[in-house]
């Protein structure tokens, strides 16, 4: 991928696969198999991260396949959110963080000196644990804020994108008649879907989700999970979750982390039926964590 591309908002979508075609869950790139490998969207290579003197990640190496959903599970404090935030360089917001190693997005080093973190974040969207639509903005403006504040003023494009993203986020039918109402007037589950619409309005290649359902009731959770499954045909989704059931329901691949280290990563089926590692087995069977 060439440098101008990485710095443009409307970056080209990686080609090679028709949208809608799910990758056949085979294996993560860390356990290479002789069969045709799916395209790797995010390649994390010996990535370590420190908060001050406290090492939060220890040489994590993990490949995340394009247009599929990867769940990161593990007990609290295992570094899964830290790893997620390293992919869009959000951890740099906290002073005193230091990293080593490499993270590549479609072959391009995200931490190369010439790469602007704001551009990385346009290509790697994020949905947070607590839904956070901007309270001063309408539903419409909440979806379009990323585009508008990045200088896009074309009205036709904006209204197309609005409808497209709200439909993708399965929210269009519920809000299409009152797009001018404040984003915070929606229910908790709707707000979280609004935040997903806001994130995909930037047309990111990757969508990071940091426990997106942990503040929601079961019905709203089910809707978000359904949405994740639909979106994973178009986006590379990485979801951090405390709920192993959720990981099992929505993801194609699962990575288990413990004490800042990646313990095991494989297809979700394999992890939940026949994990290779004892710690993984202990965690998924509920014996610790």
């Amino acid at each position: 991928m060439c440098p101008p591309d990485v710095n443009s908002i409307e970056s080209a979508r990686p080609t090679g696969q028709a949208p809608g075609a799910r990758t056949v869950p085979s294996a993560l790139s860390m356990t290479p198999q002789p069969t045709a490998k799916p395209e790797v969207a995010i390649a994390i290579d010996k990535f370590s991260l420190w908060y001050g003197k406290n090492q939060a990640l220890h040489e994590v190496t993990l490949g995340i396949n394009a247009r599929s959903t990867t769940a990161i599970i593990g007990p609290s404090g295992c570094g899964k959110s830290t790893l997620l935030r390293a992919v869009n360089r959000m951890h740099e917001v906290n002073p005193g963080t230091r990293m080593e190693g490499k993270i590549e997005l479609f072959g391009r080093d995200l931490y190369a000196p010439e790469v602007d973190p704001t551009v990385v974040r346009r290509r790697v969207g994020m949905v947070f644990q607590k839904s956070n639509p901007f309270p001063t903005m309408s539903i419409r403006d909440n979806v379009l804020v990323g585009l508008k504040l990045n200088g896009i003023t074309d009205k036709v494009l904006l209204s197309q994108r609005l409808e497209e993203c709200l439909k993708l986020a399965a929210l269009w039918d519920e809000v299409k008649d009152h797009l001018k109402r404040p984003g915070t007037s929606l229910s908790g589950g709707q707000q979280q879907r609004l935040c997903i619409a806001r994130a995909i309005a930037m047309r990111p290649e990757v969508l990071l989700m940091d426990e997106p359902c942990s503040a929601l009731d079961p019905i709203a959770t089910a809707k978000i999970e359904e949405l994740i499954q639909q979106l994973s045909s178009q986006f590379t989704i990485v979801i951090v979750t405390h709920s192993m059931q959720q990981a099992a329901r929505v993801s194609d691949f699962t990575a288990f982390m413990y004490l800042g280290k990646l313990v095991e990563a494989d297809t979700t089926d394999k992890i939940f039926s026949n994990p290779a590692n004892k710690q993984t087995e202990a965690y998924i069977t509920g014996r610790f964590g």
């Binding site: 704001t118 990385v120 901007f134 994130a199």
Partner: protein
């Protein structure tokens, strides 16, 4: 167990409790007493002279009845407007820098200096502006008066703005960062916009605070008994006019000074009501 002794102790505790309550109530009364006395006194003395002439006419010559403070009202409003135009943006942007960009140590230093500035006696601002504006321009002016009021407003606006910016949840900053929005736009269009009501509240409070300032205007706007024809002339202001009238030997002017005080208090009162109104709808 000696029940009698326990009861004695209990009774003494009750007495102490009542004493403390009484002391607290008395202190609370003493707090509002001066305010009540001032309002009452000013209203009694000034109400009779607040009439149409007061708002529409310039001062009458000493000894002749009538006249008003129209020039002082307009002068005050003009200088407050210019002072707000200078002081509010600088204060708000300074606070934005401190809250969104500033490092911990530098931020603490700036905050400390702003607090020191808030404690500088207002006459000092008047003298400073006299030295840097009035002397080089060879004359008193509305510009000089506005500038001295602006100097007072900057640290006031800065500190209140900083406090409301700190109330904006970090989740909004993170959400905006994650969309790849440039930092300066996040600061202005997400953070400041979320805290807008609080920022306006802070600005209104700063206006209310400097509206009654006399000392910074003594050496800068100076005052004027007639209409000022430009911003580069000595300019009348309500607090200055009150001061000049109050120290004059004429009874008519004393009455007008009371009326001016009443109008000034009314103006500040209205500003405070506006602040209440805004603050009521403020988001947490």
């Amino acid at each position: 167990m000696d029940w009698q002794q326990g009861n004695d102790r209990h009774a003494w505790r009750k007495i102490k409790s009542h004493l403390m309550s009484a002391l607290a109530i008395a202190s609370a009364c003493i707090v509002i007493l001066p305010l009540g006395m001032v309002l009452f006194h000013v209203a009694i003395k000034g109400a009779s002279s607040v009439n149409v002439d007061f708002f529409t006419k310039v001062p009458a010559p000493p000894g002749s009845p009538g006249g008003g403070m129209a020039n002082a009202l307009v002068g005050s409003l003009i200088m407050l407007a210019i002072a707000t135009g200078i002081g509010a943006p600088i204060g708000v942007l300074g606070a934005l820098y401190n809250s969104e960009y500033g490092g911990a140590k530098f931020g603490i230093a700036i905050r400390f200096l702003a607090d020191v500035l808030n404690g500088v006696p207002s006459i000092v601002w008047g003298i400073l502006v006299y030295a840097i504006v009035v002397v080089p321009m060879h004359g008193f002016s509305a510009w000089a008066g506005s500038l001295s009021l602006a100097f007072m407003m900057i640290p006031l606006v800065m500190r209140t703005t900083e406090e409301v910016l700190a109330l904006v949840p970090n989740g909004y900053r993170e959400a905006a960062l994650a969309l790849g929005i440039p930092k300066w736009r996040i600061s202005l269009q997400i953070v400041a916009r979320t805290a807008l009501k609080g920022i306006i509240t802070g600005i209104l409070l700063a206006i209310a605070r400097v509206a009654g300032e006399t000392a910074p205007l003594l050496f800068t706007a100076f005052g004027n008994l007639n209409w000022q024809s430009s911003l580069s002339q000595p300019t009348a202001a309500l607090p200055l006019q009150i001061y000049n009238y109050a120290i004059s030997p004429y009874n008519d002017w004393h009455r007008q000074a009371w009326a001016g005080a009443l109008v000034l208090i009314g103006f500040v009162f209205l500003l405070n009501i506006a602040v209440r109104f805004l603050a009521r709808g403020k988001r947490a």
